[in-house]
Every structure is written in C-alpha cells, then in structure tokens.
C-alpha cells in the first residue's frame, strides 16, 4: 500500500463516535470527529441516569 494516512474520520459524535475517537487517539491516530449537531453527546447526553449503576449519563 502507498503511504497510509495516519488519521481517521468518524461520522457521528454519539457515545460510539466519542469512544472510538478516544481509543484511536490513544492508539496514535489523528481523529476528525464529524457531528451534525452543535455539540457532541448524541442521545446519551439527554438521558438522566444510565443503567445499571445510575451514575449521571453526562
């Protein structure tokens, strides 16, 4: 393969997008996190408490 680009584009800033962005940053890649709304967090940010530990979703 020609020289590969050491960066990744992630579409969607919900819990899945954020988690893979953080993991990839830790694994040594530059991440572009593309989110269609004005802030990241997706639906999880709207939840009050998360199951099963009931700590705050934010």
């Amino acid at each position: 393969m020609a020289d590969k680009s050491g960066s990744v584009l992630i579409l969607g800033g919900g819990i899945a997008g954020i988690q893979s962005a953080m993991d990839l940053a830790e694994l040594g890649y530059y991440v572009y996190l593309v989110e269609k709304k004005a802030s990241i967090g997706g639906v999880m940010a709207k939840l009050d408490k998360t199951f099963p530990t009931n700590d705050c979703a934010i």
Binding site: K49, N54, D55
Partner: protein, 170 residues
C-alpha cells in the same frame, strides 16, 4: 471510621450527631442540598460545640485534645485497623450493618481508646503541684476502677508519681 468517631465523641462529652456521614452520587445535586440544609438546621438547634444538652462544655475541648493525642498511638490504631481488616476479609456486604459495626467498635476499639484518652488527659491536667486523686477522677469523669487502672499504668510507666493522695508529673 464514622462509628469510631461517634463513640469517641460521645466518650469526650460531644454529641455524636455533630458528625454526619452521608452518600450522594455525582448527579444527586438536589439530594445533597437537602442533606446539607437539614444538617445545618440540626446543628443550629444543638448550638455551638459543647453547649448542647448532655455535652461537657469546656471539659469537652480538653477531652478532645487528649483523644486527638490518643488517636495517634499505634496500639489504638492497630486495634482499629484489625477491626477494619476483619470486616473487609469477610467480603460480605451484608455484614456492614450498623449494629455489627457498633458492637465491633465498642468491644474492639473503645476500651483501649478510652484508657489511652484518660491517660493522656491526666498528663495534660497535672500541673507542677499535682492534683488529688479524687478530684482528678471527678475531672476526668471516670469511674473508680477505671481511674485506678489508668493511674497504676502511668505510675508503672514512670510518667506519674504518687505521693499519698496527690499525683504529680514524674
């Protein structure tokens, strides 16, 4: 830890309700606010330290002083640590009932703690010219047999010498 503190505070003539241990998870802001507000109101009814009903006023501060010194003595701390170790190694969350903790502290930690506290307080109260045994025992608010045991211990350790009825720093 909280139970030990409560029993030591009671022993020093301070109302244990002045110490509160509450749990609030990160998102339970309103619950925290309600707990703090109610706690402040309760302390207001108790009044300033030592002035609440059943508290020992000025004496409480001296006793707390002695208890503070006692709480650094490794014999006391080992008893406390071993008690915690037993609970921890039982590895059974239901064992942490208030009654179980209360009895464990009262039996395993308090006897040694009280004796050490009384000893420390004697050393703090003894002026150069010494104090009569009966007066000292009253000041300490200790029972006869307890007082005897503490004094003989201090004399044996050479910290106090007894001249007839009067005890003096060695």
């Amino acid at each position: 830890m909280a139970e030990t503190c409560r029993q030591v505070l009671k022993d020093c003539g301070v109302s244990p309700e002045r110490l509160s241990l509450k749990w609030a998870s990160a998102s339970e802001g309103p619950r925290y606010v309600q707990m703090v507000t109610e706690y402040v109101r309760h302390i207001k009814t108790l009044g300033s330290l030592g002035s609440a009903e059943g508290e020992a006023g000025q004496d409480a501060l001296t006793r707390l002083d002695a208890a503070g010194a006692a709480s650094a003595v490794s014999k006391i701390r080992t008893a406390y640590g071993n008690m915690a170790k037993k609970f921890h190694e039982a590895n059974n969350p239901d064992a942490y009932t208030p009654e179980a903790m209360e009895t464990a502290v009262r039996e395993k930690v308090m006897p040694g703690f009280r004796e050490e506290r009384l000893g420390q307080e004697v050393l703090m109260r003894l002026g150069a010219e010494g104090i009569a045994g009966s007066l000292l025992c009253g000041l300490l608010g200790a029972k006869e047999d307890e007082f005897e045991k503490v004094m003989t211990g201090l004399v044996k350790k050479g910290k106090v010498k007894a001249e007839g009825e009067i005890f003096k720093p060695a």
